[in-house]
Every structure is written in C-alpha cells, then in structure tokens.
Amino acid sequence: MTYLAKPRLLSELQPRNELGYTRRDYEGAISTLCAGCGHDSVSAAIVQACYELDIQPHRMAKLSGIGCSSKTPDYFLGASHGFNSVHGRMPSVATGAALANRDLIYLGVSGDGDSASIGIGQFAHAMRRGVNMTYIVENNGVYGLTKGQFSATADKGSKSKKGVLNADSPIDLVALALQLGASYVGRSFSGDKEQLIPLIKGALRHHGPAFIDVISPCVTFNNHAGSTKSYDYVREHNEAVNRIEVIMSRHPIEASYAPGSLRRVVQHDGSVLLLRKLGTEYDPTDRIGAMNHLHERHALGEIVTGLLYVDEGAEDMHRNLNTVETPLNQLDDADLCPGSLALDALNASLR
C-alpha cells in the first residue's frame, strides 16, 4: 500500500495540466500490493505520464490479465474503464476493444507470468497484428500472486528465494517484440522513473504496437541476493542506451543537449521524441541492430534499457483492415443494416 489517497481538499491547490486536471485525477483506488513492490512505482509513472500528456482519463481504456501486476489498473486512472480479464489473455481482449473503437487510447498492463508463460502466444500475435496500444509488462521474474514460482523470464541460473536455481532458458520479451513487429519497443526499470515516465509517454503517443518491458522487482518473493530481478541486481547491470524526452506537437522544441548527441523522431500524431544517446552509438530506428545489441549485451549479463526501437512510419491494425474512420461502436442502424430491399434482391438471386 504505497499509494494512500490524498484528501480531496488538497486538490484545489495542486497544479493542473492543460486540460485542467490535477495529478490526483489520474489516480485510482488504493493499492493493495506489498509495500515496496515495483509495480506501484510503475502505476505512479503511468499516472504521471498521463497527467503530463494531458490525456482525458475517460478516453483511455486499461486492460490486464491476472497477477499482482494485472491488479494495478485498479490503482490508477479511476475515471477510465478497466478490464481485468483472464490470466494471459489480455492481448486478445485489448485487440477486440481496439477493433471496436479506434479512438480510445489502450493501455495493457501485464506480468511476466501473464505475458511470457501462459500468455506468450497472445503477446506475440498482438505484436505482429499491429494493435495500436501500449503494452507494459511489469517483469519480476516470478509469479507474485501465486507466491514466488519462477516465471518464463527468470534468467537461467537465477536463484529462487528457496534456493532453487532456474534451469530453463529465459524468454526476452523485448527481443520477441522486436522480432514480431512491435513498432515502439523499450525497456526500463521501476526504480528509474526519470527513464520510465518519458518512455511511457512516448508509447502512449505512438501509433502502433508499443511495448515496454519494465523490470519491476517483487520485494516479497524475488528481491534476494542471487536473483537477477532484484533492485540491487538491476541497478548494477542496467545499461541505458538513451534518454528520451517527449515533446507534444503543440509545444516548441527546446532542447538543451549538445547537437549530435540528440536524435529527433517525429511520431504519427506530430509528437516528437528527443533521444539523447548515452554511451554506445545506438540507432533506435534500426530493428536488426537493436536485436543484435540486445543479444550481445544480454550475453554479457547486461540489461539494456531505453527506447530500443521506434518505427516512425508505423501502421496499425485498422490501417491493415482498412476500417472506416468512425469508430465501429459509433456506427448506427442505418450504417449497418442493408435493409429489406437489399434482402429482397438477395433472395431473388438465391432462386
């Protein structure tokens, strides 16, 4: 229970965004997660990102599967509709929702068990199908809600709380997302909100399947020495390739970075991603290069974070399906029903 609701009165004094909403307007119910759980920090980052992006809370839909991570949509954006579906199957539900109304913003929140174990199929197919959504996995390497079994993202050799070593190869969701066609792919750490918030902002502004793998330690079952998903381990092995800043189309771009170290990516909606390169010469628009970098660094035990890939010209599922601009859920009887005359003609053709 990291987030306690602040008393309503205070909100009068709080700063407001362009739409007049306070940060409080983006919060949800009180978290019931363990104190210190990484997931609560991700919720906080989502709240902050939505606030900063001036999103109308009710224009967003939150979807999840089952798990501690999947509970979190209840803990942010209380004015949005939320859907806590079944274990591992959020992607299909999100896909259906996105089909029904192309105008809302879709945020899927999942866990590593939810997306890499039971849900890997749906995860893979949502990415390749080009669902226009932000897909966040709160990755702790374990099943939190069922008390600490290894999930499919647990590294080979990582040690469980009971001392068992994991023998299976890990699934790297970022590598998969890159391979399967996600057009915005990042990784971050729940303990690094400086990096996480803008990464989420960019994803929410992205048009196409945006995936963010957030290492989010489970303090209760996977934060001990020997775990490769503990706060300490991640802090020590984190290798950020860039820092991102998201500039809304209506704002002038004022960047204070030295030229050359900055890369500018213009998204579909006109928003601009400013990427400051860190360390290595990293090109976030080179998908194959990104995969390569990821694999190489992973082999060295490093956790690569940052905006790893973005495709400026990304298309989404609706484009592929050539659906009308009006959201399908706003078409009325007249738009949909061919009527009796057409039916009579059809009957005639069937004789």
């Binding site: 949005s80 939320g82 859907f83 109304n101 050539n322 399908l328 061919p338």
Partner: protein, 616 residues
C-alpha cells in the same frame, strides 16, 4: 428386371473423388432441378482431406419438398474406383447406375438387379478437349449433361445456369456448355431417355430460396449489426465467416471512402478469437465468432468470464461429430451440455437452435439483440448438416422499422442527469444491470470489469453476501432470458394424443416428414420444436400435457433431454430418448420407426418404467 419409376421423387447419389472439381457440377445439377420448380435437398458427404479421398453428393428430389435425408439411393453416379463396391451395393434393387465406361470392368463388378448406364466420359473428353485440366474438369459437367437427358430435364435450364455461373468468362461458358451438350446428346443417342426416374416441371419450389445455413448466419450477422468478427478456421464453421466477409464487402463498404464498416480478424486460435469478441463487446460493438466443438472447448475459460462479467458475445457453434477431433466432417448435436453449462462454476448460457438457413438468418440477427439485452454470451447452435448444405427454405425477411435493441446502456446524458449507476445493481428486477461503454463520460460511470466476485458497484469484494446477491441476480436474468428467446413451435397432431415429441435444430425436416408418415399410419403425436434455452414455459407445459414425450436428438447421451429434466424438474421416466448419432443426418424413417415401435408396445402393455430405454 424391375426398374424403379418415379417422378420428382427419388434419390441420386454422386460418388466422386474430392478435389476433382465435381462439387460445383453437382451443385449446378441440383439447381437445374430447382429451376424446373422441383424441390431438392442435397447433402455433401466429404472426408477430412483436401484431395484424392472419396466424397459423395446425395441429392434427394422430393415433390413434396421434404428436406430431410431419405436414405437409400435410386440412381448412383459412380465415379470413384476406390468406393465402387460399396457404391454399387447401396443402389436400391431396380435402381440405376451411371458410370464412366472408358475402362472396361468385369461383370462381377456389377449387380443383376440394377440398370447400368455406361458412358465413356474420359474417352469422350480426351477426344473432345485438348487441354488436360479441361479434360478433367469438363468430365464433371459432361455427366450433368448426361443426367439432364436421362431424367428428361430441360437442357436450356442447364445452359442458363452455366451462363450465369461463368458470367463474364465467355471461354468457360462455351466450354462448359459444349461439354454438357456432348453428354446430353450422347445419352439421348445411346439410351432410352428418360429412365424410369424423371423430373417434370412443377411449381413445388414457390418463392423458396436455396442457400446453406452458414451463409445465412453470415448474412444474419450483417443484418444484426455485427461489426467485429474474430475467428479461427475450423470445419464446419469456416464458411460462416467467409459469408460474413463477402456480405460485408457487398453491403458495408463505405461508398465514398471504400473503407470497411466492419473488422474481421483471423485470430491465432479460439482463445484469442473469443477474447477479441469479448473485448469488442465490452467496448460497445456487436461482435461474434464462429467455431465448432474443439473451439468451444478452448473457449471455456473466456465464456465463463463473459458470463460472470456480463459481456455480450455471440458464438456460432456449427456442431460436428465429437468427442475430441471426432468426426470433423460429420454432423451431430452433441455440444449442448458443453455450451449450456460452459466453464467451471455455476453457469447457464443462452442457446438458440435454428432449424434451417431461414432461421439461421433470423436467429443470427436476433442473437445480437439478445446478447446485448441480456449482457451475456449467446450461442447459435447449428450443425454441419444445415451449416454446410444448401437447403430450400423460406426467403429471408426484414422489417425496416425494426431497431437494434442495444439493451441497458447508460448514456452520458443519463449520467449527467444524475441517474445512479451500479454496474451490477438490479434496478429493474429483471436481473439485468446497466452498463456503460468505455469513453462515455469524463467523470461518471467508469467501472472496473473483472471475473472475480464484486459488489453491485463493481468493487472487488470477497463478502459472501455480495457473491450471493450476484448469483441470485444472474438467476433472475435467466428467467428474463427464458421469456426473450424464440418461443417453441407447436405442431399438433390431427387427433388429440397422449404422446408428444420434442426436437430441435436440423432434426426439423426429418421430424416433419416422420410426423406425416406416422399420421398416415394413424399414429398421432404432437410435436414441439424447441428453439432456445433456457427453456420457455411452454416447454414444460407441453410435457405436462402429455403422458409420454419422445425427445429426438442427434447425440449419444440425450443432452437436450438431460437439460429438460434438470431445468424443469421433470420426471425422466416420461421422456423417451430417440437418439441417432453415427454422424449421418437423422431420417424420417428412423424417427417414425423408433416412435411407432414404442407406441405400438405401449398399446399392448401399459406405461411401465422399463419402456424408457435408449432407442439407438
């Protein structure tokens, strides 16, 4: 030797090899008979295979318009060497055999009590057509020509159909016409035409249309306002989506932009397809999927979610032979229990049972009203027999004044007016709560949907009383459903009788014919055709009003009967099973025999419990 004589009333069977292009020739032949005003009922009997395996097309010509399978075969068009022996054996004594006599066959391969008509189809084709693929294809249309002559049909009708089918492809029209004509002429030249069997122009077809149930479901979904279809291919349901897709392209393409007023997604599997339907339904569109048994099994968890979270969804189940992969290309009505009580925990789902393509259309359109009104999954329970075979049926109709019933959806205006909103609150006493569609209102009416227990305001709650409130409300909702589903259809016997029969779905034409046969034999039975579940009150009343009620089903365990007993607290002794489940469509003969035998027995010996035994 005798030769069967019959006009407009016989069974022709085509024995072909699948993938050889015979299907469209056979279908054209059926249409030719219809164009002559004579009703037919065709059935494809096909393997779970793409090419090279046996397939049959069984065509019942019936002046009276019986759509059920009759059984037996009066004329066999035997074109598959693999199945020759059993095909020959199947011909009724005095019946006819048409075969390709290019290759000579020993006498032992024939029967003495049938009339044999050998046409050297392959040889003629080889002579007449140069191109090898043409040779193979035109052989099919050529035997259609042969039959046209043998059965005294009008060649002009065939010509017309060819012209229609290949409209715009003049070369094909010409080739096909020529092949048909060659066959026609050959037959008239070599055989005494017509045979004892003949087609005589009539007006038995009336305004009926000829279409398969899956196409009708696809069209019904268009008329019913479905905009999202998510699916995964599986026999025999695939053509539901193919039809939906074709009708959408035709009727739902935006005339200005050319864009689609619909979205069809081929999902990666059935779990994903039902998940998409649920996501779409939650987000305010009418969405559906089509599948068959294995898909239903895979969807169970999600069906439970839609039931408990109360999300509209339509699931078309074109049933095939089970269990497991079972008989993928055979028909059954064996998924009733799997659908009615789908998913773990206490559930009860809405099912609809269309009898033919006409009802497939009507129920498909209506299912979306029901799903949205009741906020729950609705199953359309068809089967391979009506799904994948063309049927003559009443033309589709649509009342333009009809509006979609979107059910209890609370609007932004209502919320602004201060209408109180509790997502799972039973405000009207009918068990149906109000819902809001995501994005409705900036500050009111948002809620969190979940499959876990919660209170009436959609807040997570583990309290026993919240759970019980919810379950009791769902019960009330089922009572509401009972009143909304299509009412059963009663067919009273000509005389008052102690006996009733209950049937549903594709059994309908065989049942109707069986009733007529029995009436002719002075066996009187009132019939009730059940069209939905949870059962309407009339169903129990019907059972109460009879001393014994037969329940005719195409499954092994008497699934509808179990549901009747369970839901109506009825005495099982009263409900007599008539079960047919070998994968072939049930026949009037089977039903009439089964029922008459029991009734005959009972005349001798009055009602005793031991009479109640399985009939198949």
């Amino acid at each position: 030797m005798i030769a069967i004589t019959a006009t407009n009333d016989f069974v022709i069977k085509f024995a072909n090899v699948n993938g050889s292009g015979s299907a469209s020739a056979n279908e054209m032949f059926a249409r030719a008979i219809i164009r002559m005003g004579v009703p037919v009922a065709p059935r494809n009997i096909f393997p779970s295979n793409i090419q090279g395996m046996p397939t049959w097309y069984e065509l019942r010509v019936s002046a009276e318009g019986w759509n059920g399978r009759r059984g037996g075969c009066d004329l066999m068009v035997a074109l598959n060497a693999q199945t020759w022996d059993r095909d020959i054996a199947e011909i009724e004594p005095g019946g006819y055999l048409v075969y390709d006599s290019t290759r000579e066959l020993p006498r032992s391969k024939f029967r003495d009590d049938i009339n044999v008509i050998g046409v050297p189809l392959t040889a003629i084709c080889a002579k007449e057509f140069a191109n090898p693929t043409q040779r193979a294809l035109f052989k099919n249309i050529m035997y259609v020509g042969v039959l046209t002559a043998l059965l005294d049909m009008e060649f002009a009708v065939v010509e017309q159909l060819i012209a229609q089918q290949y409209r715009g492809k003049d070369k094909l029209i010409e080739g096909n016409r020529r092949a048909a004509k060659i066959g026609y002429d050959h037959a008239r030249e070599h055989f005494a035409c017509p045979l004892g069997l003949r087609i005589e122009r009539s007006n038995g077809v009336g305004d009926r249309i000829f279409i398969d149930g899956n196409s009708a479901v696809g069209l019904g979904a268009v008329y019913g306002g479905a905009t999202v279809a998510a699916w995964y291919p599986i026999t025999p349901s695939t053509s539901v989506i193919e039809a939906f897709s074709a009708y959408c392209r035709k009727y739902r393409t935006d005339p200005d932009s050319g864009a689609a007023r619909y979205a069809i997604v081929q999902a990666e599997d059935e779990l994903a397809s039902i998940g998409m339907v649920i996501g779409a339904g939650w987000n305010g569109v009418r969405a559906f999927t089509a599948t068959s048994g294995p898909g239903i099994s895979l969807m169970q968890e999600f069906i439970g979610l839609a039931y408990f979270a109360e999300i509209p969804a339509v699931i078309v189940n074109v049933q095939r032979g089970g269990p497991s992969t079972g008989m993928p290309t055979r028909t059954q009505q064996s998924d009733l229990v799997a659908c009615a009580y789908a998913s773990h925990g206490d559930t009860r789902h809405v099912l609809l049972f269309p009898e033919d393509p006409h009802e497939c259309f009507t129920f498909a359109a209506q299912s979306f009203d029901l799903a949205e009104r009741l906020q729950t999954p609705v199953f359309i329970m068809t089967d391979l027999d009506i799904g994948m075979n063309d049927r003559l049926c009443a033309p589709f109709d649509w009342d333009d004044s009809r509006c979609y019933d979107r059910g209890k959806v609370m609007s932004a205006e209502e919320l602004d007016e201060g209408k109180s909103f509790g997502r799972y609150l039973d405000v009207d006493g009918d068990g149906i709560p109000y819902r809001t569609i995501p994005g409705t209102h900036p500050s009111k009416g948002a809620f969190f949907t979940r499959g876990t227990t919660r209170n009436a305001y959609a807040k997570y709650s583990e309290a026993g009383q919240d759970y019980v409130y919810n379950m009791e409300r769902l019960r009330r909702k089922q009572d509401t459903a009972r009143k909304l589903i299509p009412a059963p259809v009663l067919a009273e016997a000509s005389q008052s009788t102690r006996y009733g029969v209950i049937h549903y779905g594709s059994t309908s034409p065989a049942m109707a014919e069986a009733l007529a046969q029995m009436e002719a034999d002075n066996v009187h039975v009132d019939a009730l055709r059940v069209r939905g579940f949870p059962f309407a009150d009339e169903v129990n009343a019907f059972i109460d009003a009879h001393e014994a009620v037969f329940v005719v089903e195409q499954n092994e365990s008497g699934q509808l009967r179990s549901m009747l007993i369970n839901e109506g607290d009825l005495n099982p002794k009263k409900l007599i099973r008539v079960l047919h489940y070998d994968g072939t469509p049930i026949t009037a003969r089977f039903i009439a025999d089964a029922i008459s035998t029991v009734i005959e027995d009972r005349k001798v010996q009055p009602l005793t419990p031991s009479l109640n035994k399985v009939m198949s």
